[in-house]
């Protein structure tokens, strides 16, 4: 029996080549999209789950509301882990990650700057499941100056030999001893680095000061611990420890601080939530994360899941539509089979086998497509997606299951529809040919076009927002700015280097300041016009030199910027307009601003106000910013050079040559600032590209279905067209008549797609503090686009029918 079904199926596929081609192409493209997006989504999920105890590891973060400003900091105070371990039996272990500086590693007569070395407590490998290739995981990070290298770093300095116990000479400080080599971090780790140095290398890591948030603290809870309960109990610990120190600093009791509407607490974030939910669910300030952290947003996972599902749905709908449309051709066979003794059940089986067979062919083609397209898609989105056929046992069973499920989904309805046919009706000698209309088919086409239109609207909105970001006036002139990112290595020779560059006519201005734009802008509490109080204002602060304003071309609003003419300017501060607003200051110039600090607060005189400029990503509003005239910390120091637009290559060559005279150990690592800015929106850009690609594919699949359906409907109305022509209908009126139904469907689809797309895209835009609008023309454009594409699709079929000699179509009957 089965071979009989198979034979029929294959002969039918061959006989109706057009339908087969459309069906299988649509399904294959749809499935390929689904697989690629699934790989993308799977890659985003399951971060950090490689850790054996992933479900028991939590990161401690600090949540505070100060003066109405809410912040969550991913970093905690040095004594946090130790205190929690001591006070709470639920806490089994803890470890901290810290970062201090770049190191210059010596290898023979070469020196390399290593910026990816973090410090970790000796318990690090007890919490995270990162196997050591050499060395003892329990003791590797105990002694000061002990270094655990990743495989890659070890290879760089020691080649293939075992480096255990070897010394690495570090310029300007004690040598490190290699006490372990670890495997490189898995791709799915939120944190990764090149090497871990023992925390004990820096005595300050043993500090008992609670107000500097410098370390990420991870704790391992005992089995069965309820993290929410522990969180609640932790708050008293915070009060007991932070309280006295805050009191000494702010001059007020913590209770008073709370009474003023402020709050300050330590909370727990599950390890596995860090990659996708840090910002969305825990409002962690990205600025407080380590520079190498990999974070994304669960929203993109949802978004792409929806796209994957909808594209597959479009393809499945094509299948259902074409199958039911064709059912009249198959109905005769159903009738005959019933008269010779087939049960309805067997017929359903037969048609489902057919659809599963087709689906299997489509899946096979889809897999080939995926293999072809993945390298290209990977470069597009910067990932390493890979379809693992043989090194993952689940892949093949999942694909088979997928084939069955899609086959059932696509073939199920047509199968029952067909098998329910009453043979008596069909087998009568003269069967009237139907009009080819079906309510279900119309509804399904409307669904397809709803999805397509919504996807197009989404694509346009994302493009518009990305465009907006790229062209928004940031408050400074961003072109022709060059960032020398490793300027910190110049150290004391910075001024000399700057003078050398200033002599070149191609260089307009340059400034040495601390890092901006991406993460790592430090923040602090400041008091305006008083030395103690419950209402400190949270400012980010930058260490800059005299030429900052000139180089970035930022407008001054009030007072003046730092000047070489005033020797007192090291005690001065310049703030931005947002700072003025948050301090509720009316005439800030000349007033005092006090920076609250561990070793006593420092008071500065405000000498000027600059216009707000976007020194962080456009995801957030401009926050209060304070400028101090001082040398930035070495690792954060960036030399920004404004170059003339003429002779750019010569200028760059000059900078590099000068650099090489100053620094022999490493090259000048420079980037154009515009590129740095663009890097902040990579996620949006990728989303833009991915949605564009998949919207186009979605429309392609939907139109493929429309093409088939149009062919079918027109075939059904062939005779009618012939009669109308004889009666004198013009080709144009026939065209109108035939296009009418399709146009109606598409217009109806708009009614559904518009509000849905509007809602979702506005939600997405909420992610940006600065955003474009979902203008009305986007909707019109999307509709127009789909309408035109659809009309072109059916136009071909229609014209073919309209041009046919009426005699041919009537002769048929």
């Amino acid at each position: 029996m089965f071979s009989n079904y198979l034979k029929i199926a294959l002969r039918n596929l061959k006989k109706y080549k057009g339908f087969t081609l459309i069906n299988i192409t649509g399904l294959a493209v749809g499935i390929a999209c689904f697989i690629v997006l699934s790989l993308f989504i799977l890659d985003e999920l399951g971060y950090d789950s490689f850790n054996k105890n992933a479900d028991r590891i939590y990161r401690v973060y600090v949540h505070s509301v100060v003066n109405g400003i809410e912040t969550s900091n991913s970093k905690t105070a040095a004594p946090t882990g130790e205190t929690l371990l001591r006070d709470f039996p639920e806490v089994e272990n803890y470890t901290r990650i810290g970062y201090f500086e770049h190191y210059k590693f010596r290898k023979g007569d070469q020196v390399f700057r290593e910026s990816g070395i973090y410090t970790a407590d000796s318990s690090y490998f007890q919490i995270f499941s990162l196997p050591l290739l050499y060395g003892d995981a329990n003791t590797a990070l105990l002694k000061p100056n002990s270094l655990v290298m990743t495989e890659t770093l070890a290879k760089k300095y020691f080649g293939d030999e075992n480096p255990l116990g070897k010394m690495i000479q570090i310029e300007g400080r004690d040598a490190f001893q290699v006490t372990g080599v670890m495997r490189n971090y898995p791709d799915k780790s939120h944190f990764s680095c090149d090497g871990l140095l023992s925390s004990s290398t820096y005595p300050i890591t043993q500090s008992h000061y609670w107000l500097d948030l410098w370390y990420t603290t991870y704790i391992l809870l005992r089995e069965g611990t309820e993290p929410r309960e522990l969180e609640e109990k932790m708050q008293k610990t915070v009060l007991d420890n932070v309280g006295p120190q805050a009191e000494a600093l702010l001059g007020i009791r913590l209770e008073q601080f709370y009474a003023a509407g402020n709050s300050y607490g330590f909370y727990l974030q599950p390890l596995t939530s860090i990659h996708l939910r840090s910002q969305r669910d825990y409002q962690i300030d990205l600025n407080t994360e380590w520079g190498d952290i990999k974070t994304s947003d669960i929203v993109y996972v949802w978004f792409f899941s929806a796209v994957a599902f909808f594209i597959l749905l479009i393809a499945v709908i094509n299948f259902i539509n074409l199958a039911t449309a064709r059912s009249e051709n198959r109905a005769k066979e159903v009738g005959i089979r019933k008269t010779v003794g087939s049960s309805q059940f067997k017929l359903v089986g037969q048609f489902i086998i057919e659809s599963v067979l087709m689906c299997a062919i489509a899946v096979f083609i889809a897999l080939v497509l995926v293999e072809l397209v993945l390298p290209w898609f990977n470069t597009l989105i910067g990932k390493k997606l890979d379809l693992q056929f043989f090194n993952n046992l689940a892949t093949i069973p999942v694909l088979i299951l997928f084939t069955l499920v899609v086959g059932l989904l696509a073939g199920g309805y047509p199968a029952f529809y067909l098998a329910a046919v009453q043979p008596g009706q069909i087998l009568k000698a003269s069967t009237g040919r139907g009009s080819g209309k079906s309510a279900l088919r119309s509804a399904l086409v409307i669904i397809q076009f709803t999805i397509s239109i919504a996807l197009i609207i989404g694509t346009i909105v994302i493009k518009k927002q990305v465009n907006y970001i790229q062209n928004k006036d940031l408050g400074f002139k961003k072109d022709f700015l060059l960032s020398i990112n490793n300027a910190g290595v110049l150290g004391p020779r910075m001024e000399e280097f700057k003078q050398q560059l200033e002599g070149n006519p191609g260089i307009i201005s340059l400034t040495n300041g601390s890092r901006m734009f991406e993460s790592g802008i430090p923040g602090n509490g400041y008091l305006y016009d008083k030395k103690s109080g419950t209402d400190p204002v949270s400012f980010q602060y930058l260490d800059v030199d005299y030429d900052f304003l000139k180089t970035f071309q930022i407008e001054l609003r009030d007072g003046r910027f730092f000047s070489r003419d005033f020797s007192t300017d090291t005690n001065a501060v310049v703030i931005n307009e947002a700072g003025v607003k948050d301090c509720h200051a009316t005439d800030p110039v000349g007033k005092e601003l006090t920076k609250i600090g561990e070793r006593g607060s420092q008071t500065f005189t405000i000498i000027g106000v600059v216009k707000d400029f976007n020194y962080e990503s456009l995801h957030r509003e401009v926050r209060p910013l304070a400028f101090h005239l001082c040398h930035p910390r070495q690792p954060a120091s960036i030399l920004t050079v404004r170059v003339a637009s003429q002779n750019l290559p010569a200028t760059i060559k000059y900078i590099e040559e000068t650099w090489n005279r100053f620094i022999q150990t490493e090259g000048c690592y420079y980037t154009f600032l515009e590129q740095n800015l663009a890097n902040m929106y990579i996620a949006e850009q990728k989303t833009g590209i991915v949605t564009t690609v998949f919207s186009i594919l979605a429309i392609f699949i939907a139109c493929l279905g429309l093409f088939g359906l149009a062919a079918f409907v027109i075939e059904k109305r062939f005779k009618e067209i012939g009669i109308r022509k004889i009666l004198g209908a013009s080709p144009l009126s026939l065209l109108g008549m035939l296009a009418q139904d399709f146009a109606k469907w598409i217009l109806l689809a708009n009614v559904i797609a518009w509000p849905c797309a509007w809602y979702v895209m506005n939600k997405w835009l909420q992610n940006f503090a600065y955003r474009t609008e979902t203008s009305w023309w986007i909707f019109i454009l999307a509709t127009g686009l789909v309408l035109i594409i659809a009309m072109l699709t059916i136009g071909y079929q229609t014209m073919r029918a309209v041009r046919t000699n009426p005699v041919d179509s009537l002769h048929y009957e």
């Binding site: 066979e333 003794g341 087998l427």
Partner: protein
């Protein structure tokens, strides 16, 4: 063998009932050769389809070999199709995608006949109808008469108790038509019950009973031989 009591059939279209068959009372015995006659639209084909359980009736009772068909489920009807009833249609109704051989094989597959037995049954049938040479051809490669021959062969292959033929010669030329009628006559002599629908007096005369239908009613019945 077949007993129809007050069988009626109508199509309900919104508020209007369109009657196709009314008040049909009919008994057909084993070995009968019944011809159903009547003008276009009299309900001949519908009656045949109801007898063949291809169509539902709107009211009345129908006993097939003493089983109440009007109360039977789909499964049981399927079983009747597999064992007792063979169909021949005016438009032959062979499965276009299957060869002659495969068309003959299909009812046996549904009846779950073993492979070896199936092969010999098909071979016998091909022999008997003299179409061995055509066994690998598709229906559209055959003439009308040849297709109808295959259709009759397919109806007979399950060795049915009754053959229902809906204008079996309607699409054939007179020579071919006559051959098919002779064949049915021969089958009837061998004991198969036959019901045919026709509007050709000559063809109707092959039967021993002629039932005349008009506007859904049995108008009259003639008995022959």
């Amino acid at each position: 063998m077949i007993k129809l009591v007050d069988v009626e059939k109508y199509y309900a279209n919104k508020f209007i009932k369109t009657w196709v068959l009314r008040n049909i009372n009919l008994t057909i015995h084993e070995g009968d050769f019944v011809s159903i006659m009547g003008p276009s639209g009299a309900g001949k084909s519908t009656l045949l389809h109801i007898i063949g359980m291809l169509d539902d009736m709107s009211g009345g009772e129908y006993y097939f070999m003493d089983e109440p068909v009007h109360k039977l489920n789909e499964k049981k009807r399927t079983a009747f199709h597999q064992q007792y009833i063979g169909f021949v249609f005016q438009a032959y109704h062979l499965i276009d995608e299957l060869t002659v051989y495969e068309n003959l094989e299909t009812p046996l597959l549904y009846k779950k006949v073993k492979t070896a037995e199936r092969k010999s049954m098909i071979a016998d049938m091909l022999d008997r109808f003299n179409i061995v040479a055509k066994k690998d051809l598709f229906p559209n490669q055959l003439s009308g008469g040849q297709q109808q021959l295959v259709a009759v062969a397919r109806a007979l292959i399950i060795n049915p108790k009754i053959i229902l033929a809906d204008e079996p010669t309607g699409n054939l030329n007179s020579k071919q038509g006559l051959e098919i009628m002779e064949m049915l006559k021969q089958l009837n002599k061998e004991g198969t019950t036959i019901i045919q629908v026709t509007h050709d007096e000559n063809k109707a005369a092959f039967g021993n009973r002629i039932i005349h239908l008009a506007d859904g009613y049995v108008e009259k019945e003639e008995q022959h031989g």
